[in-house]
């Protein structure tokens, strides 16, 4: 049996749920960022699977192009978020989400 779209979508759902857990549960903000990247990867898996199996005949590879743009967006996100987190750490000496609970600069 070849892997079909159901397999890829199930994997995508699983990865997304794992990433969602990490994003909400990790204490360190860098860990939260990494978990967000897991969720982005889950989305690209689903998009690539749609490009391969779904609507393939009428719009070939559009899903893969979307996955490409999602990867670019994720990379930009990591870049900016890392800079912000380093600034937060320099100012507050902590990246603990339980400590950073006010909106003061």
């Amino acid at each position: 049996m070849d892997a079909g779209i159901g397999h890829f979508l199930a994997l995508s759902a699983l990865l997304f749920a794992i990433g969602a857990f990490g994003m909400l549960a990790r204490r360190n903000l860098l860990g939260v960022l990494m978990s967000a990247q897991v969720m982005v990867a889950a989305a690209t898996v689903a998009l690539a699977a749609f490009a391969r199996f779904g609507y393939g005949g009428s719009r070939p590879l559009s899903g893969a192009a979307f996955a490409f743009f999602v990867i670019i967006g994720g990379a930009a996100e990591v870049l900016v978020a890392t800079a912000v987190l380093l600034l937060v750490h320099r100012r507050r000496e902590s990246l603990d989400v339980d400590e950073l609970d006010d909106l003061r600069g």
């Binding site: 890829f8 794992i18 005949g57 559009s62 893969a64 990867i71 902590s94 603990d96």
Partner: protein, 213 residues
Amino acid sequence: MSVNGIVFYAFAAVAVVAALGVVGLPELRHAAYALAGMGAAVGLLFLLVGNELLFAVQILVYGLAVPAVLLVAVTLVGGRSRDQGAGWLSSWWPVAVLVAVGTGALLLGVVAVSGDVWVRGDYALDGKAVTQPMGDLIFKRYALPFGVSAVLLLTALVGAVAIGRRDDLEDELEAAEAARRHREERMRRRREDRERARAAQRPAAVAGQAEGE
């Protein structure tokens, strides 16, 4: 089960285990390594759907670049951070479990219920390279999003530098802090000098008093 299925399950298992590592490893640098592993496994899954361009991009970005940036960040934050190691879960973790289980159940339910409704003409690539049609697509139909994403990356680069730079206020604050420390040190030294001088004078004064009597 065909080779295709076996390969899928192998790489899917690696991806899931690595994702669990990203979420669950207490040490942040281990989590970054796990993220690289997950990126590589997902990239190999892209190869399995016959898309070698996405494979290359995924390996380069999520297998190498993103974990490298995150490792640098972890190293910079590293030693002084109080919240590494033990206690990697925030106080909100029960909510996270609920949300994750709910999201996972919802998505898996949709996939299970919908069955093959997604499939519209299985697009067989017959082993042909997909890079050229992908290039056509990205540079023709999606030329505008491609340009926008280039601007996005440039903005992110400039933004990261601008955010990470030390600004004037920070320099002033640091200078003021240093001046304060310097002044305190000077006052402490002067006080010590005075005490020492008084201690040296006291025996003489006592002796003078005794003579007067």
